[in-house]
Amino acid sequence: MSITLTLIGQSIAMLVFVLFCMKYIWPPLMQALEERRQQIADGLAAGERAQTDLERARQEADKIIGEARNQAMDIVDQANKRGNTLVDEARTEGQRERERQLEAARTEIEQETNRVREELRGQVSAIAVASAEKILQREIDASTHQDILGKLANEL
């Protein structure tokens, strides 16, 4: 229990340990801790930034979707309108075509009627001439009374 050389030995041992700790233990550990702290701070900051980015992207997406929806509605409207006008045009065109066809048919019928009427007129006059010829075979010469017969045919 007396003071001996051990005291100096212990002091030296302590200084050696402290020096070793100072050189090889403390700095790398502190550096690792500091780096990790930095990394965590960076990570948190990045997370926050990502959050705001996400928020912004979501708003952007909402805006784009809204625009797209409006555009789509516009397109549908336009298409509807265009369809309506097409139908209308087709309808008027059809109307016109129908009338045109009707008109053509009418004129054709009229022409046919006229032609038939001419023919009938000719035939009637021929029949009339023939019958008159039969009646008047004896007394009437066809060439003598040609002017009378022509007048008659015109009156029919």
């Binding site: 007396s2 402290v18 700790c21 233990i25 790398p28 550096q31």
Partner: protein, 280 residues
């Protein structure tokens, strides 16, 4: 072990035996074991062995982590070591405000090393001495911090650092001024000048005592606590069967003392060094 012995002689012999260091010294050109009373040139082999061994354990543990320390995800062991490091770093930063590369590693070394040395107290008092006696080693004191040389050795190293830091921070004149011009400022002019030497002498005595009290209290506090704790362990070991619950109770309580004393030693070291660096 002393349970077989019954007489007061056996008991005191047992205690004395347990409190005896394994000493070696050189007398008349020959190495002598344990007959070194009053000889300064004596090495307490057991104290030195265990303290250096435990210091190496500390160095080994922390160095193995420090070499592979990554800033990535730490392993369990690295995390444990890092929590100690952060605890020390926080404590030191709260107390010691100047910049220094020495104080924090010093505090770490002191804390862990003293903690390990104190922790030897929890090994049942007879185990290692008995094993040693089987190997032919007569005396073995296992807990280095129950050796006053060990605690003084550390506190003297701290004392040297205190003086070194005082001079580094304030210069030699500042150091001398701190010893002589406080707490009573000597008069600088007038008739009072005659009393200046007396006041300076008074201050010097007062401040020297205050300065010397620092390492003294530092080492004696640790030594006293650990020595008393060890002594009680030895006394409990004398009690026969009753020692089992008592030993357990005291050991549990001692876990607190072991940690607390290591922390106090570290804390006071840092505080003294902070005082040395800071202006009053």
């Amino acid at each position: 072990m002393a349970t077989e012995g019954h007489g007061a002689q056996d008991a005191s012999g047992y205690i004395v035996h347990h409190l005896q260091n394994l000493q070696v010294c050189r007398v008349d050109g020959a190495w002598v074991w344990n007959q070194c009373e009053g000889n300064f040139w004596t090495i307490n082999v057991d104290s030195m062995f265990f303290s250096v061994f435990l210091g190496l354990v500390f160095i080994g543990l922390f160095w193995s982590v420090a070499r592979k320390a990554t800033s990535g995800v730490p392993g369990r062991f690295q995390a444990a070591i890092e929590s100690i490091i952060e605890f020390i770093d926080k404590t030191v930063n709260e107390t010691f405000h100047a910049k220094s590369n020495v104080i924090a590693p010093l505090a770490l070394t002191v804390f862990v090393w003293v903690f390990f040395m104190n922790l030897m107290d929890l090994i049942p008092v007879d185990w290692l001495p008995l094993a040693a006696s089987k190997l032919g080693i007569e005396y073995l004191k296992v807990v280095p911090t129950t050796d006053v040389n060990v605690t003084f050795g550390m506190s003297i190293a701290v004392f040297v650092l205190i003086i070194f830091y005082t001079i580094k921070a304030k210069g030699v004149t500042g150091f001398v001024a701190e010893l002589t011009l406080h707490p009573i400022a000597p008069p600088k002019s007038g008739i009072g000048l005659i009393f200046a030497p007396v006041i300076i002498a008074f201050n010097f005595i007062l401040e020297s005592v205050a300065l010397l009290a620092k390492p003294l209290s530092l080492s004696l506090r640790l030594f006293g606590n650990m020595f008393a704790g060890e002594l009680i362990f030895i006394l409990i070991a004398l009690l026969g069967l009753w020692q089992l619950p008592l030993h357990f109770g005291w050991a549990v309580f001692h876990i607190l003392i072991v940690t607390l004393q290591a922390f106090i030693f570290m804390m006071l070291t840092v505080v003294y060094l902070a005082l040395a660096v800071e202006k009053h």
